[in-house]
C-alpha cells in the first residue's frame, strides 16, 4: 500500500480550534491482523459471516461487564465540552476525531439496538444501524484514538473515550477485525516474553554487551542481571529499553542508580516486557494473561519488590491494574489466597509495584545519590507528561505525585528546567500522538497530525526559553518523538529518558566492597524510611 500524501501541519503561535473538515481522515485504518496473529489470541482471522449478530452480542456482553461502558453510553448530553480537547482533532480537523463524535460511532449503534428511543425513533435520537460502513468507521476512527483520556479530564461526567475505544476494539477483534500491530506484538509478548520477540539468549547477550560498554564508558562495574533468583528487586521495563536509542540510555541510568544504592536487582527473561498491549485492545483476559507472566516471574525469582521502568501505559497497568489482575500490590482480603500467595512474599514496607522514578526520587531525598549537575549544563530541559502516567496513576502517594516526582528528579540532576505551557502539561497534557497502539508506520499520518499540539507547546519553549531537550518517561512517547520531531524541524535526538539525564549526572563513587557489607545492615532501615515517605 502506497503511503498517502498529506501535509504536515504548520505550528501556529497559539492552538486554534480548526474548522471542521469532514472525512479528511477517513480511510481503511491500520493494517489488519491476519489469521496467524488473530488465532493465538482467540480471535477469528477475518470478518466472520454473522459479524453483525456477534458484534451486537459482544456489545451487550461488554456493557454488562463494565459499568464505565454502560454509564458513559447513557450519560452523554452532547454539551460539546470535549470537542476541542483531542490532539487528533486539533491536528486533523476531522470531526469524527472529536471525542464525543468518536464515541457516537459506538453510542449511535448502542442506541439503535439497546434503547427504547433508538429502537423506535432512530432518526430522532441519532441512532444508527450497524452496517459495513459503520464498522469501517469503527475500525478507522477507533484506531485514531490513543486512549490518552484527555477528554475525560474535561468531561463534566468524566466520560472516558478510552473506555469506549477499548470496548469498540474488543468488539472488532471478536468479529475478526484485529489490528496487526497490536495483535502481532501480543503474540510475541505472550509466547517469548517481550514485544520485540527477543529470546532469552539474545537478551542475555545484549545485557552482557551493555555491561561491558558501561564499564568502558563510566569505569564502574554496573551490572544488568538476568534471572537472578533471590534478588531483592525485579525490574519490569519496556523491552525497547534493551536495544534502541534513546531508551537504552535510560536503562543504563536505572543500572547506575541500582549500583550506587547497592541493592540487588534482576530482570526476568520470562517477563521481559513492561508494556501490555492487552490494554490497548481492551481485553481484560489478554491483559491479565500478560500480567500473569510478571506474577510468575516474581514468584519464581523470589523477589521482595517489583519495580517498573519508564513506560507510560505499563505504569498504568502496573499501578492501577496489576493488583486486580495478578495480585502484585497490597491489601488483599484475608480469604484471597490467590493474591496473598504473592503479597506475603512482597515486602510491604515498599509500595508494590514501585516506579523507578519513585525509587530514584526516594534515594535523592535521603541523600543517597550524588550528582554533578554541570554534566547536563548544555541542556535546557522540559518534561513531557505521558498521558497514562499523568491521568491514570500516581507516584509517591501524594496528590499530583506523578507530576511532582519526575520533575524533582530532573531538577536534581539538571540546572536548567522549564515547563511547557500550563494547559498542555500535567493532567491536561497533550499525547505524543503515538500511544494506544498507534505506534506503527501504517498510521504515520495520524501520528504526525496528532503530535501537532505537543509540538506547538514545545516550539514555544524552544523559542522563548531555549529548550533543547525533551524528557519523557514512556517508551512509546520516546519512539514517537524520535520519529515526529524532525517532521516539525526539531532535532530528533532532543528526546531523552529521564534516567538518561540521571545517568549523565550521577557520581558512581560507591566502593564495591562496601556494597555487600552495607546491604544487609541498611536494607531494613532504608525500607522503613521509604515506607514512611510513601504513607505521608
Amino acid at each position: 500500500m502506497a503511503a498517502k500524501e498529506f501535509d504536515i501541519p504548520e505550528l501556529p503561535t497559539y492552538i486554534e480550534i480548526p474548522e471542521l473538515t469532514p472525512d479528511v481522515m477517513k480511510g481503511e485504518g491500520p493494517f489488519k491482523a491476519v489469521d496467524e496473529f488473530q488465532k493465538p489470541l482467540g480471535f477469528p482471522g477475518g470478518k466472520v459471516d454473522n459479524w453483525k449478530e456477534v458484534a451486537i452480542e459482544k456489545m451487550g456482553d461488554l456493557k454488562s461487564k463494565y459499568r464505565s461502558v454502560q454509564v458513559f453510553l447513557d450519560s452523554c448530553v452532547k454539551c460539546g465540552a470535549c470537542t476541542d480537547k483531542c490532539h487528533y482533532f486539533l491536528g486533523s480537523s476531522d470531526p469524527k476525531n472529536m471525542p464525543v463524535a468518536r464515541q457516537d460511532l459506538f453510542r449511535s449503534v448502542y442506541r439503535r439496538y439497546f434503547t427504547f428511543a433508538g429502537k423506535h425513533f432512530p432518526k430522532l435520537v441519532g441512532a444508527k444501524d450497524l452496517d459495513d460502513e459503520m464498522v469501517d468507521d469503527w475500525y478507522n476512527y477507533f484506531h485514531q484514538c490513543s486512549q490518552c483520556r484527555r477528554c475525560s479530564v474535561f468531561c463534566p461526567y468524566g466520560i472516558d473515550t478510552a473506555e469506549i475505544s477499548m470496548a469498540a476494539r474488543e468488539v472488532l477483534d471478536t468479529i475478526g477485525l484485529g489490528q496487526k500491530y497490536c495483535n502481532q506484538i501480543l503474540g510475541k509478548a505472550l509466547t517469548i516474553g517481550n514485544n520485540l520477540g527477543l529470546p532469552e539468549p539474545a537478551l542475555r547477550d545484549t545485557l552482557l554487551d551493555l555491561e561491558e560498554e558501561v564499564e568502558e564508558d563510566f569505569g564502574a562495574p554496573v551490572k544488568f542481571p538476568l534471572d537472578i533468583k533471590g534478588s531483592e528487586i525485579l525490574l519490569i521495563t519496556p523491552s525497547a529499553d534493551f536495544f534502541a536509542e534513546p531508551h537504552i540510555d535510560g536503562l543504563i541510568g536505572y543500572g547506575k542508580v541500582f549500583y550506587q544504592d547497592g541493592v540487588s536487582w534482576t530482570l526476568s527473561s520470562y517477563a521481559s516486557e513492561g508494556a501490555n498491549f492487552g490494554m490497548f485492545i481492551g481485553s481484560y483476559d489478554i491483559m491479565r494473561k500478560a500480567a500473569l507472566r510478571i506474577r510468575k516471574a516474581a514468584l519464581d525469582l523470589e523477589v521482595s519488590r517489583v519495580m517498573v521502568g519508564e513506560c507510560g501505559h505499563a505504569w498504568r497497568v502496573a499501578y492501577s491494574f496489576w493488583n486486580t489482575l495478578s495480585g502484585v500490590g497490597a491489601g488483599a482480603q484475608s480469604g484471597d489466597e490467590y493474591a496473598l500467595k504473592l503479597q506475603n512474599q512482597l515486602d510491604d514496607r515498599y509500595p508494590q509495584p514501585q516506579h523507578i522514578i519513585e525509587y530514584t526520587y526516594d534515594l535523592i531525598q535521603r541523600g543517597k545519590l550524588n550528582f554533578d549537575k554541570s554534566e547536563n549544563d548544555e541542556r535546557t530541559v522540559t518534561f513531557h507528561d505521558s498521558c497514562n502516567v499523568a491521568r491514570a496513576t500516581n507516584m509517591g502517594g501524594i496528590e499530583g505525585g506523578q507530576f511532582i516526582l519526575p520533575r524533582e528528579v530532573i531538577k536534581a540532576v539538571c540546572n536548567n528546567y522549564v515547563d511547557m505551557e500550563r494547559s498542555t502539561i500535567k493532567e491536561a497534557t497533550f499525547c505524543c500522538g503515538g500511544g494506544g497502539g498507534l505506534l506503527t508506520d501504517d498510521l504515520m499520518e495520524i501520528r504526525i497530525k496528532g503530535a501537532m499540539p505537543r509540538m506547538q507547546a514545545l516550539k514555544q519553549v524552544e523559542t522563548n526559553e531555549g529548550v533543547n531537550t525533551l524528557a519523557a518517561i514512556c517508551a512509546i512517547c520516546k519512539s514517537q518523538f524520535s520519529k515526529v520531531l524532525p517532521k516539525f524541524d526539531f532535532d530528533p535526538y532532543m528526546i531523552v529518558s529521564v534516567h538518561q539525564l540521571v545517568s549523565a549526572a550521577i557520581i558512581l563513587d560507591k566502593p564495591q566492597e562496601a556494597i555487600q557489607m552495607s546491604e544487609s545492615q541498611t536494607e531494613a532501615t532504608d525500607a522503613v524510611e521509604a515506607k514512611e515517605a510513601e504513607t505521608e
Partner: protein
Amino acid sequence: MSLISIIFTALFYISLFIFIVGMGRKIRQFWITPVPLKIPIAPTPLTQTGAIFKMIREVTLFESLFRSNKWIWLFGFLFHFGLLLVLVRHLRYFIPGDLPEVFLLIQPFKYAAFAMIIGLAGLLARRIFVPRIRYISAPSDYLMLLMLIVIGVSGAIMTFTSNHTDVMMVKAFASGLIVFDWTNLPTEINFLLHLFLVLVLLAIFPISKLLHVPGIFFSPTLNQVDNARKKRHISSWALKQEKENTVKLEQTIGKDE
C-alpha cells in the same frame, strides 16, 4: 371533574409511574454492573473523603466543565441552578394546606426562571451556531432544549405577566394529586402546555440523555478512590474467573502458572 382534568390527572400518574419504574430499573442496572478495573481520572483523590468532595464539587459547581469551557459552564450553570431554585419554589403547590413560613423567604426564587431561560437560550444558541456542537447534535438534542425553554417561558408568563393562572386552583389540583383528593385544574393554555411538557419530560427521563443525572454518581472515573496499590480491587466476574482459573486461558497462548 372535567374531562381535561381527568386526562391530566391520569397523565400525571402515568408519567410518574414511568419515571419511577424507569429510573429504578436504570439505577439498578448501573448499580449491579461491575467495575472490573480502577480507572479514576486525574486529578485523582487518594482518599474516600477526597472522592466524595470531588463528586460534590462536580455536582454542585460543575468543576470539570468550568475547566473545559467557560461559556458552556456559564449557560449550563445558569440553567441548572435556576431550575433547582424554581423546583424548590414549586413545592408550594404540592404541599397540602398552609405553607410553612420558610416559603415566604423563597418567594424571590421565582426570578430564577430568568436564569434558567437565559441559560437554555445560550445552550441552544451554541448548539445552533457552533459548528462543532451542531455536528454532534441529533434532533432530540434540540427538542430537549426547546421543550425546557417552552416550560420555562410558559411558567414565567404565568408568574410575571397579567396572564396569571388561578394559583389556588393549581395548588388544590397539585396537592390533590399527592393526597389523592382530585380536583379540576385551570384550563388556560399556558398552564396546560406547561404541565403537559413537564409530564412528558418526566416520562422520557429514563430513556433519554437526562440519565446524566443518575449517571454522574455512577461514573467510575469520578467516584473512584485512587488506591489501587494499597487495596485489591476485583469485580465479581473476574473473581469468579480467577477462582475457576478459566480466564479463557486455553484459548490464549502461553502457560498460566
